[in-house]
C-alpha cells in the first residue's frame, strides 16, 4: 500500500512539474518577444528595491488594512512552503512526518507556528473575499474587471482557504491517531487544529487514517495544482514581483527614456555630426504591438496582480475617462498570451492582423493620460504603466501622424514659433516691457 502511494505520488509530482515547466518556458518566450533594453545603473539600488519593496512590502503599507491582511498571506506563503518540503519528501520516501524525529522538541513548536499562519491566512482570505464581494471595494469592480478577472481573484482566495482547511483537518486527525497508535510521530497538542479534534473523535481508526491520508493528498495535490494555476493567473505576482522590482526604473520618475535612434537623425539634420557607430536597424518608432515594448514592460504585465491601486489613483480614470493603467497592463498580458499561443500552435503569431494598439488599447485611452505618475507611484511592485502609454503615443505621433488634431497644431506651433501656443517668437521677450518702461 505504501509503495503504491509512493509511485502515485511520484507520477503526480512529475506530471505537475512537466506542466508547470511548460508554462514557465511559454511565459519566458512571451517575454522574450519584447525588445532587449540595457539595464543600466546601480546594482545596489536595484537589490535595495527587491529587499524593501518586494520582500519588505514597503509600498503595500501605503494602504494599511489590505497591507496587514496581505502580509499574513505573504508570510504564510513563504513559511508554510517549508512544510511542503516535508510533504514532498514524505511522499517520495513513503515516510510520515520525516522531520519530526530529526527536529525533536522543535518540531511541535514549528507545527504550531505553521498552524498559526494557516489560521491567519484563512482569516485574511475570508476578509478579502468579503471586501471583493460584499463590500464591493470599488477598484475590484471597475470596467476592466470583467468576469474572468473577478473569478480569478475569488478562485485564488477560495483555493487558499481550502488548502489551509486541509492542513488543519490533517493535523487534527493525525493527533487523534497519535493517541490511538504510538507508531505515529508525536507532535503533542497542536493548538489550533486540536479544536477540530472533537469533530472526528467519533470516527473509527481506519476512517481516521483515510481522512488523514486524503487531506494530506488533497493538500499536496492542491498545492501542485495551484502552482500550475498561478502561471495562468494574475497570481503570478508571487514570483515575478521580485524580478520586477529589480528591473524597475531607477532615478526620477519624471524622466522619459531617450530614443538614441532619433538623436542620431536629429544630430545629422542639425549638422551636429551623427554618432560614429550606426545604431543598427531603426525598427519602429514607439510601440504598436508587444514586440515593440521592452522585456521589462512585458515582464511587468505578468507581475501585475490587478490590485487596481494604479487605476484608483489615476486622475483620468477618477473623472470617468476610459484610461485605466491596470487595463494597460492586463491588455499587454492578454496580447502576449494570444501571440504566444498562436506561435506555439504554428499560427501567425504577431502577424495575426491584430495589435496591442487598436485591438486592445485605444487611442482614446492613451490620449487621456496626464503623465502625472500617480499610477507609477501607487504600484506596490514598481510596475510602470506610463512607460507603455508613452511608447504607444510615440508610435501614433511618429509612425501614423495620428495624434489628436489639437496636438498636431501644438507640434506645428513649436516648429514655427518655438512655443506650443500660437504666438510669434519675436514677441517672446515682450513680457519684460512692463518692467523696462518703469525703469
Amino acid at each position: 500500500m505504501a509503495v503504491v502511494q509512493q509511485i502515485l505520488f511520484l507520477i503526480t509530482l512529475i506530471v505537475a512539474i512537466f506542466f508547470i515547466w511548460k508554462r514557465i518556458v511559454r511565459i519566458k518566450s512571451n517575454i522574450q518577444l519584447g525588445r532587449q533594453t540595457p539595464i543600466n545603473g546601480n546594482k545596489a539600488a536595484r537589490w535595495r528595491n527587491v529587499l524593501l519593496i518586494a520582500f519588505g512590502q514597503k509600498k503595500m503599507f501605503k494602504r494599511i488594512i489590505p497591507a496587514f491582511l496581505h502580509f499574513w498571506i505573504y508570510a504564510g506563503f513563504i513559511i508554510i512552503n517549508l512544510e511542503v518540503l516535508e510533504f514532498i519528501l514524505d511522499g517520495v520516501l513513503g515516510t510520515h512526518r520525516l522531520f519530526a524525529p530529526l527536529l525533536g522538541s522543535f518540531y511541535p513548536l514549528l507545527m504550531n507556528f505553521f498552524e498559526f499562519l494557516a489560521v491567519a491566512v484563512l482569516i485574511s482570505c475570508i476578509v478579502f473575499l468579503i471586501r471583493r464581494n460584499v463590500l464591493r471595494v470599488k477598484r475590484f469592480w471597475s470596467a476592466e474587471m470583467t468576469s474572468w478577472p473577478r473569478l480569478d481573484g475569488n478562485l485564488i482566495l477560495v483555493i487558499e482557504i481550502t488548502l489551509m482547511l486541509a492542513i488543519l483537518t490533517m493535523n487534527a486527525s493525525d493527533q487523534l491517531l497519535q493517541l490511538r497508535n504510538d507508531h505515529y510521530a508525536q507532535t503533542g497538542r497542536l493548538f489550533f487544529s486540536s479544536f477540530l479534534m472533537p469533530l472526528f473523535d467519533g470516527l473509527n481508526t481506519s476512517t481516521l487514517i483515510v481522512l488523514e491520508r486524503s487531506t494530506w493528498w488533497f493538500h499536496i495535490v492542491g498545492i501542485l495544482g495551484f502552482a500550475l494555476y498561478v502561471t495562468y493567473s494574475k497570481h503570478l505576482h508571487i514570483f515575478l514581483a521580485f524580478p520586477n522590482t529589480y528591473f524597475s526604473k531607477l532615478g526620477p520618475k519624471g524622466h522619459i527614456d531617450n530614443m538614441p535612434v532619433v538623436t542620431n537623425e536629429v544630430k545629422s539634420m542639425l549638422g551636429l555630426g551623427a554618432t560614429e557607430t550606426p545604431l543598427g536597424e531603426p525598427g519602429r518608432f514607439g510601440a504598436k504591438d508587444i514586440n515593440d515594448l521592452s522585456r521589462v514592460n512585458l515582464m511587468a504585465a505578468y507581475a501585475c496582480t490587478e490590485c487596481g491601486r494604479c487605476t484608483s489613483e489615476c486622475p483620468a480614470n477618477i473623472t470617468g475617462k476610459k484610461l485605466s493603467p491596470r487595463k494597460v497592463m492586463m491588455d499587454t498580458r492578454d496580447r502576449m498570451e494570444e501571440v504566444g499561443k498562436s506561435i506555439a500552435s504554428g499560427g501567425p503569431g504577431l502577424q495575426d492582423g491584430k495589435s496591442l494598439l487598436g485591438d486592445y488599447i485605444t487611442k482614446e485611452e492613451i490620449n487621456a493620460c496626464t503623465t502625472c505618475n500617480a499610477c507609477v507611484e501607487a504600484c506596490p511592485v514598481l510596475i510602470n504603466p506610463l512607460d507603455i502609454i508613452l511608447e504607444l503615443r510615440r508610435y501614433v505621433a511618429m509612425e501614423e501622424s495620428g495624434s489628436p488634431a489639437q496636438w498636431n497644431s501644438m507640434f506645428q506651433n513649436i516648429e514655427t514659433n518655438f512655443a506650443p501656443w500660437k504666438f510669434s517668437a519675436s514677441d517672446r521677450f515682450n513680457w519684460a516691457n512692463e518692467l523696462k518702461s518703469k525703469s
Binding site: P252, K253, G254, H255, I256, N258, M259, V262, T263, V266, M269, L270, L272, F285, P315, A316, I318, T319, G320, K321, K322, E364, N367, A368, T370, T371, C372, N373, A374, V376, E377, L390, R393, R394, Y395, A397, M398, S403, Q406, W407, S409, M410, F411, I414, E415, F418, A419, P420, W421, F423, A425, D427, R428, F429, N430, W431, A432, L435, K438, S439
Partner: protein
C-alpha cells in the same frame, strides 16, 4: 522698494560685457506668453532684483524645452528643441538655471543631460526657500498672510516626478499663514489635469474635468488662497475656481507672487 527700477538683463547683453550671471532665469513659454502667468514671471524678477541676485534671461533666444512634444509622443520635435536649446545654453557656458515651471525644470534637469546639456537645475520653490533660509528674503512678523488659510496644490512634475514636496511648503510657512492640506497631497497629490500635453487639447470624454475634481478638494479645505508652483496648475486651478463660481472668495496664486506681495514688491 517697488519704486526702484527692475532690470532684466539678457545673456546676450551680459556676454557682450564679458560678464556671467549667478543664475540663468529660464522663463518658459507660459512665463513669456500667458497673460496671467506673466505676472508670476514679473513677480519673480522683482524678487531677484530686490535680493540683488545677478541673473540673466535668454529673452528672444529662449525656446520651448520640448516637454509637451515629447509627452505627446513626438520625439523628433522634442529632440530638435532640446538640441537647439542646449546649443544656446552651452554657447553661453551656462552653469546654473532657475525656473518657475516644473515641466521645464524636469526636462532640462532629467532629459537634457543625455543630449549633452548638463546644468545645475533649481526650481524657484527651492530657490525661494534657500533665499528665505539664508535671510536674503526677510519675512515680516505678522504679515498680510498671518492666519490666512492657504492650501498648496502639488505639481506632479515637481512632486512625484522629482521629489520636491517640502520646499514649496516651507516657503508658504514662512508667510506665517495657516497651511492646510488637501486629502490627496504630496506623493498622492491629484494632478490638475494639465500635464502630459493635456494643456493643449480638450479632455477625453468622462464625467468630470480633472481640474474641477481637484478644485473641489481644494475648496473643501476652506482655504482662501490656493498656492501653486506651476503655470499649468495655475491655469487649471483658476479655471476650476471659476467653474465653481468662487473667484470672488478664493484666489489661485504662484509662490513667487505670494512672496513678492509679502515683500511689498
Amino acid at each position: 522698494m517697488s519704486e526702484e527700477s527692475n532690470t532684466v538683463p539678457t545673456m546676450a547683453e551680459m556676454a557682450a560685457k564679458n560678464e556671467s550671471p549667478e543664475i540663468l532665469f529660464w522663463v518658459g513659454c507660459a512665463g513669456s506668453f500667458d497673460d496671467r502667468y506673466k505676472k508670476v514671471t514679473i513677480a519673480f524678477v522683482k524678487i531677484l532684483n530686490a535680493v540683488g541676485i545677478k541673473f540673466a534671461v535668454l529673452g528672444p533666444e529662449e525656446s520651448c524645452t520640448g516637454d509637451p512634444a515629447r509627452r505627446a509622443g513626438n520625439e523628433f520635435l522634442f529632440q530638435m528643441q532640446a538640441m537647439s536649446n542646449i546649443t544656446v545654453l552651452n554657447g553661453y557656458n551656462i552653469k546654473k538655471i532657475v525656473t518657475a515651471c516644473p515641466h521645464c525644470f524636469n526636462t532640462i534637469k532629467n532629459e537634457y543631460p543625455e543630449l549633452g546639456g548638463n546644468y545645475e537645475m533649481v526650481h524657484h520653490s527651492t530657490f525661494l526657500q534657500q533665499l528665505i533660509d539664508e535671510g536674503r528674503i526677510k519675512m515680516k512678523e505678522g504679515g498680510a498672510f498671518k492666519g490666512k488659510k492657504i492650501t498648496y496644490h502639488d505639481s506632479c512634475y515637481l512632486g512625484r516626478a522629482n521629489g520636491v514636496y517640502e520646499a514649496p511648503r516651507k516657503v508658504l510657512e514662512s508667510l506665517d499663514a495657516d497651511l492646510v492640506e488637501m486629502k490627496r497631497n504630496r506623493s498622492t497629490g491629484l494632478c490638475c489635469g494639465g500635464g502630459g500635453a493635456q494643456m493643449w487639447k480638450e479632455p477625453e470624454k468622462g464625467n468630470k474635468d480633472i481640474n474641477v475634481e481637484r478644485t473641489e478638494e481644494a475648496l473643501q479645505t476652506g482655504a482662501t488662497t490656493v498656492a501653486v508652483a506651476c503655470p499649468f496648475c495655475l491655469t487649471m486651478m483658476s479655471d476650476g475656481v471659476k467653474n465653481k463660481e468662487k473667484e470672488n472668495e478664493v484666489v489661485v496664486k504662484d509662490l513667487a507672487e505670494l512672496i513678492a506681495e509679502s515683500q511689498g514688491l
